[in-house]
């Protein structure tokens, strides 16, 4: 792809983001498009021929903290760009040969993972564990500029993938050690200058949501981190943000109330950073169930009416389908068995069962801390009408360790546990599980659905990259990739060949259909 083409593509993307469909020869943003669907219209690889899918190349990363690779690669111009904490690579998408490797000299932070980069024109954006947004030249991997986006001394760190939307780069922040406020920021794509910041929790008297906290101080440092890349509807210019759990995390005696806007799906105006509506997936969460699973945008029918929708399979085991223009819930359901709630309120939000909050002598709760879903990306196929989520039916016992009146930090935890991992294929319009495929191994993996009636993912600790029939869940193909799949797979065509690329631990694997 020439530079001119990249520029044209960027302009076209700017103008046409309203029709979110991945360019067939690229995977230009974290979720393939801004809708979060992780659906590809490509059909060269399909349920009939996937058994012939074969290895094209593998690329093994090196460097301290480089593995596992949790990033979803971006592919533009025949180059794959991907990251792990303090590292960014550019790799030839046809050959798997390294073009450049950028290493950030970090000052600390949490190295648990990095979800990926953002790319616009000739800039690659990455967030670093020590709270910087860094712009790198896509051509040679040299740093162009850096901007501090959070306070390392408050134990914030950065792990999210920046999302490029028209006129803005949207960045999120991470952290759950020292009580601090979550927020997202819009940054100028050319300079990184701050355009606006939206806080997940009230920061001053009069802020909305303050009435759901006992005091401004509890609210101000009340958490709600923004771990997961946002989705975006260019027609309404709304960003769909999902927010993390409140703090203190487990012990909760000093934060009675719903604790808005933690564990929420929030619609934010992209131009001014103002909140349009919210829906709280976990009111007054006490189980570390951040609601930061991707909010997928769906245009489809519900009860005979075509609507603009947003759907989430949340960490707490609940599936929500909302009208994305109003935030009104249309469906609230369980996508795995759970035991912590007393149904749904009039807004469709779960009602926590007080007996299933963590207890000094222990409460058996389903799901466990890892949740019924976690950060690995879900997928929605408009071809099947199914919302796919890497899920777990899990139990653990939750304990309060700090039973005082003013706990801080976690103040408790869960211990032990049992879990069964699976893919749940959910009918988006009803919330009912259409099919379920249980893995023999354990663990979550990201998902990719395609118009070839395929669902690509990992089978957890069995260490396979697999393809399932997207309509039935039948396993069709596997490749042993040594360790569990650690990111979300992507697909694109180059030179008329369709590739599927996935990361497992320290290795990026590329598969191709040679037909």
């Amino acid at each position: 792809m020439t530079r001119a083409f990249i520029v044209c593509f960027a302009i076209a993307w700017t103008l046409q983001a309203a029709t979110p469909a991945p360019e067939s020869d690229s995977w230009p943003t974290f979720n393939g498009d801004l809708s979060g669907r992780r659906f590809s219209a490509l059909t060269k690889i399909n349920d009939k021929n996937v058994k012939n899918l074969s290895l094209a190349w593998s690329y093994r990363v090196s460097g301290q903290g480089a593995a596992p690779v949790k990033a979803t690669p971006i592919q533009v111009g025949g180059v794959l760009y991907f990251s792990s904490p303090d590292h960014v690579w550019a790799v030839d998408a046809r050959t798997g040969r390294e073009i450049w490797h950028f290493i950030w000299e970090g000052k600390g932070g949490n190295y648990i993972g990095n979800r990926g980069v953002g790319v616009l024109n000739d800039i690659v954006y990455v967030e670093t564990p020590d709270c910087n947004l860094v712009a790198i030249n896509s051509k040679d991997g040299k740093e162009r500029w850096r901007q501090t986006i959070c306070d390392l001394d408050r134990y914030y760190y950065s792990s999210a993938a920046p999302i490029v939307i028209p006129n803005h780069v949207i960045v999120g922040v991470s952290g759950d050690d020292v009580s601090s406020a979550g927020y997202i920021e819009a940054r100028d794509p050319s300079t990184g200058a701050l355009q606006w910041r939206w806080y997940s929790v009230p920061q001053k008297a009069g802020d909305p949501g303050l009435e759901t906290w006992p005091s401004l101080e509890m609210a101000k440092y009340g958490g709600g981190m923004t771990w997961t890349p946002v989705t975006y509807d260019p027609e309404t210019k709304l960003i769909y943000l999902t927010t993390g759990n409140p703090q203190p995390v487990v012990a909760h005696s000093n934060r009675p109330g719903a604790n808005l806007f933690t564990a929420c799906i929030v619609a934010i105006n992209a131009d001014d950073g103002k909140m349009q509506w919210y829906f709280q997936a976990s009111p007054h969460d006490t189980h570390d169930w951040d609601a930061t699973q991707t909010a997928i945008l769906i245009d489809g029918e519900v009860r005979g009416e075509r609507r603009k929708l947003v759907a989430q399979a949340s960490r707490n085991g609940k599936f929500f389908l909302l009208d994305r223009t109003t935030g009104k819930a249309l469906v609230s359901s369980d996508f795995v068995p759970t035991n912590w709630s007393l149904g749904f309120d009039e807004k469709g939000q779960p009602i926590p069962n007080p007996a299933k909050h963590p207890q000094v002598d222990g409460a058996l709760v389903s799901p466990n801390q890892a949740g019924a879903a976690n950060w690995p990306s879900p997928s929605f196929s408009p071809a099947t009408g199914l919302f796919y989520v890497s899920a777990a039916h899990a139990y653990s016992v939750w304990y309060i360790y700090d039973a005082g009146k003013n706990p801080m930090g976690w103040g408790g935890t869960d211990r032990g546990g049992w879990a069964q991992h699976m893919v749940q294929a959910i009918d988006y319009a009803t919330g009912k599980v259409r099919w379920s495929h249980t893995w023999e191994g354990s663990g979550f993996s990201g998902l990719l659905s395609t118009a070839g009636n395929l669902l690509f993912t990992g089978d957890g600790s069995s260490n396979n990259f697999v393809a399932l029939n997207a309509t039935t869940g039948e396993p069709l193909w596997r490749a042993g990739v040594r360790t569990p799949v650690s990111n979300g797979p992507i697909t694109y065509t180059l030179d008329g060949l369709q590739y599927v690329v996935v990361a497992a631990g320290d290795t990026l694997w590329s598969f191709v259909m040679n037909e």
Partner: protein, 333 residues
């Protein structure tokens, strides 16, 4: 001034080499603990080697006259015996230069905090109606051994405290960082409370009846004296999640999942499960050999999980029954 400059300065000031047999502590006591202050004052707070170098440099600036050899000996002694070690509490997160904590300094700060700070900020520094929660404070979180705390207390505190010595500020800095660390995951403050809240008689009833536990277990057999062998929380975890990895750390090998495979021909094979995915199943047969069978529509695979009865309990057991069973098992002394 760096360490090299200290050595040069010390060499210029050199009077005599220390006796060869004199220990590091003896040199430090002689040079640093006799004229201006005693040795105990020197070692009030542990420091990193760069901090000790800066301190010795400072003392030379104030008139101390060690020889270059003595400087080396003193630095080696202090930096090895009175050093700071990185926290093990969430040590891998936060800024890489986050302050380390000297427990002895924290202890020494307690009376000072109690007399000057506690009435407003509370004994754990988490605030009262009269004073801020210091664990949330940017001044505290950005502090490095008094760097922001000292200037703040001297001038910006609602009740400025310019009379605090640098040593007092340093002690408070250690104390407050310890209070921050108290809140992090892995903090020694975070320990389980009393889980022995159930009714042993009710637990026995559940064990023998609804729970179905007596089908495999016996209070006079495998569970004899379990209340002496395990603490209550371990009992709770083991009986709910016997196959959890943590629960499997025990002397006797855990029972294995077995698998029986029926091939399209009708032949059956079985053994202990080694590996299984959607496409293959591997098992160890009676001879000890490993076999792998490719799975398919006409291959029937039946797994037998020895812990199935425990898994079956999870959706139906109540928290009350859990606590009752723990009380019952804990009573088996």
């Amino acid at each position: 001034m760096g360490a090299a400059s200290i050595l040069v300065l010390a060499a210029v000031l050199a009077q005599a080499a220390p006796p060869a047999a004199e220990s590091g502590e003896a040199v430090t006591r002689r040079v640093c603990g006799t004229v201006c202050h005693n040795f105990e004052h020197v070692i009030t707070v542990g420091r990193t080697r760069p901090q000790w170098e800066a301190t010795v440099e400072n003392m030379i600036g104030r008139g101390a006259k060690p020889t270059s050899a003595e400087v080396t000996t003193i630095l080696d002694f202090l930096a090895s015996k009175y050093t700071l070690t990185p926290t093990t509490i969430r040590g891998g997160v936060g800024p890489r230069d986050k302050p380390m904590v000297d427990p002895k300094a924290v202890e020494r700060a307690v009376p000072l905090f109690a007399s000057d700070c506690q009435s407003c900020h509370g004994p754990d520094a988490r605030g009262t109606s009269n004073g801020a929660n210091l664990v949330l404070s940017d001044v505290v979180l950005r502090d490095r051994y008094g760097s922001t705390l000292g200037p703040f207390l001297a001038t910006a505190h609602p009740r400025p405290m310019p009379a605090l010595t640098s040593m007092q500020v340093l002690l408070l800095s250690h104390f407050l960082r310890a209070r921050v660390n108290d809140t992090l995951r892995g903090s020694p403050l975070f320990t389980a409370g009393d889980v022995l809240t159930g009714n042993a008689n009710a637990g026995e009833q559940f064990f023998k009846g609804e729970g179905g536990c007596a089908a495999c277990h016996s209070p006079s057999g495998d569970l004899a004296s379990i209340g002496r062998r395990m603490d209550p929380i371990t009992i709770q975890q083991r009986f709910l999640f016997p196959n959890n990895v943590a629960s499997r750390r025990r002397a006797t090998p855990p029972p294995q999942t077995t698998v029986t495979i029926t091939l399209p021909s009708g032949e059956t094979r079985s053994g202990s499960l080694v590996y299984i995915d959607d496409f293959n199943v591997s098992f160890r047969d009676a001879s000890g050999a490993q076999q792998t069978v490719r799975r398919g529509a006409n291959v029937r695979v039946v797994k037998t999980d020895p812990y199935a009865a425990h898994v079956d309990l999870l959706p139906r057991i109540t928290d009350k029954a859990i606590h009752d069973v723990v009380a019952y098992l804990a009573s088996l002394k």
